[in-house]
C-alpha cells in the first residue's frame, strides 16, 4: 500500500511487467524451446563463450557484461537487462532491436517458438550446470 501510494506509476509498471513475465512463462513449452535452441548452437553454449557469449546466468545480467567476452559496441552500451521480456523483444529481430550487434541472426519470427525458446533459456541459464 505504501509503495502504491508513494509511487503509483512505478507500482503499475512493476505489476504490468510481472504480469507480462508470468504470461510469457505460463504458456511456454520448454521441450519445444530446447529444439528451438538448435538455432543458437552455431555460436552459443550455456557453459562457455564461443563466437557468442555463454548463456549461463543470463537472466538479470546487463547485456555486454559477461566477463572475458568481447562484445560489439552496440551490445556494450545498450544497458539492456536480460529478462523474459527483453529476450523476447531482442530475439524477434536482434538487428532491429539492437542495431550494431554482431549477432547476424534474422530472429525467431514465430511468437510461440520464441516464447518457448525464451523459457528454455531462462530455465537452463539458472540450472545446476550454470552454478556460478
Amino acid at each position: 500500500m505504501f509503495f502504491r501510494r508513494k509511487f503509483p506509476g512505478q507500482a503499475t509498471l512493476l505489476l504490468t511487467l510481472l504480469i507480462c513475465e508470468s504470461v510469457l512463462a505460463a504458456d511456454a513449452d520448454r521441450e519445444a524451446g530446447k529444439l528451438a535452441y538448435n538455432q543458437c548452437i552455431g555460436c552459443h553454449s550455456f557453459a562457455y563463450h564461443r563466437t557468442g557469449p555463454k548463456h549461463c546466468n543470463l537472466i538479470g545480467r546487463i547485456a555486454g557484461t559477461a566477463k572475458n567476452f568481447e562484445y560489439s559496441d552496440a551490445m556494450h552500451i545498450s544497458r539492456v537487462v536480460w529478462s523474459r521480456e527483453t529476450l523476447n523483444d531482442f530475439l524477434a529481430s536482434p538487428l532491429t532491436y539492437m542495431p550494431g550487434t554482431s549477432m547476424g541472426f534474422i530472429g525467431v519470427k514465430n511468437s510461440d517458438q520464441r516464447m518457448n525458446l525464451v523459457e528454455y533459456l531462462v530455465h537452463q541459464s539458472e540450472s545446476d550446470q550454470c552454478d556460478p
Binding site: 538448435n38 552455431g42 555460436c43 557453459a47 562457455y48 560489439s72 550494431g100 554482431s102 534474422i106
Partner: protein, 194 residues
C-alpha cells in the same frame, strides 16, 4: 557384412570428392557465388551502415569458422581417430579454412578487416573419450554452422553475400550428413531445417 562406420565415412568422403570433380561443370553456381566474395559485385552505393552490418555478420561467420578449424585440429591431434577418419576430418577442416579465406576476401573488398582466430577455444575435451565422441562433437558443430548460416543469409544487405553464404551452408550441411552417417544416424533427418 556391414562396413565399419569409419570405412563408410572415408568412402563417402572420397566419392563426394570424386563426384565433385566429375560434376564441376554443374557447380558453376556455387563457384560463382564464391567468386562474388572477391568483391566484384559489391554495390558501391550501399549505405555505410548496411556495409558495416554486413562486415559484422561476415566476421561473426569467420569466428565460427575459426572455431571449427580449431575443433577439427583438436580431433586430429586427439589420437582417437582411425587413419581413414582422420583424413576426412582434415579434409573438412580444409573446407573451413577455405571458407575463412573467402569470407576474409569479402570483408576486405568491403573495406573492413577480418577477425583473427582466438588464442584459445573452450571445448568439452573431458567428454571426448573415443572416436564416436569426436564425430558427435564435430557433427554438433556442423549442425550449428548450418543453422547459423541459414539465419544469417536473410540479413545480408548485399544479396551476393547471401548467395555466397548459401554456398557455404550447403558444404556445412554435407559435412553434417556425412558425420551423422558415420555415427549410424539418418544422414538427412528431415525435409526442413531451422
Amino acid at each position: 557384412m556391414s562396413k565399419q562406420p569409419s570405412k563408410l565415412l572415408f568412402e563417402t568422403f572420397i566419392n563426394s570428392r570424386r563426384n565433385f570433380i566429375q560434376k564441376a561443370g554443374g557447380l558453376s553456381m556455387s563457384a560463382a557465388a564464391i567468386g562474388l566474395l572477391s568483391g566484384t559485385s559489391i554495390n558501391a552505393f550501399a549505405g555505410e551502415k548496411a556495409v558495416a552490418q554486413d562486415v559484422r555478420i561476415l566476421n561473426t561467420a569467420i569466428g565460427a569458422e575459426h572455431e571449427a578449424v580449431a575443433a577439427y585440429q583438436l580431433g586430429a591431434e586427439s589420437g582417437l581417430l582411425e587413419p581413414d577418419v582422420l583424413k576426412v576430418a582434415v579434409g573438412f577442416q580444409g573446407h573451413h579454412k577455405e571458407h575463412i579465406d573467402a569470407l576474409s576476401k569479402a570483408i576486405r573488398s568491403l573495406g573492413g578487416e577480418a577477425d583473427d582466430a582466438k588464442s584459445n577455444y573452450q571445448f568439452p575435451v573431458e567428454k571426448l573419450k573415443k572416436q564416436r565422441d569426436v564425430l558427435a562433437f564435430a557433427a554438433g558443430l556442423e549442425r550449428g554452422a548450418v543453422s547459423a548460416y541459414a539465419n544469417a543469409i536473410p540479413v545480408f544487405d548485399n544479396r551476393d553475400l547471401s548467395l555466397a553464404a548459401a554456398s557455404i551452408l550447403a558444404d556445412e550441411a554435407m559435412h553434417w550428413a556425412v558425420l551423422r552417417s558415420a555415427l549410424g544416424l539418418d544422414p538427412v533427418p528431415g525435409a526442413f531445417f531451422s
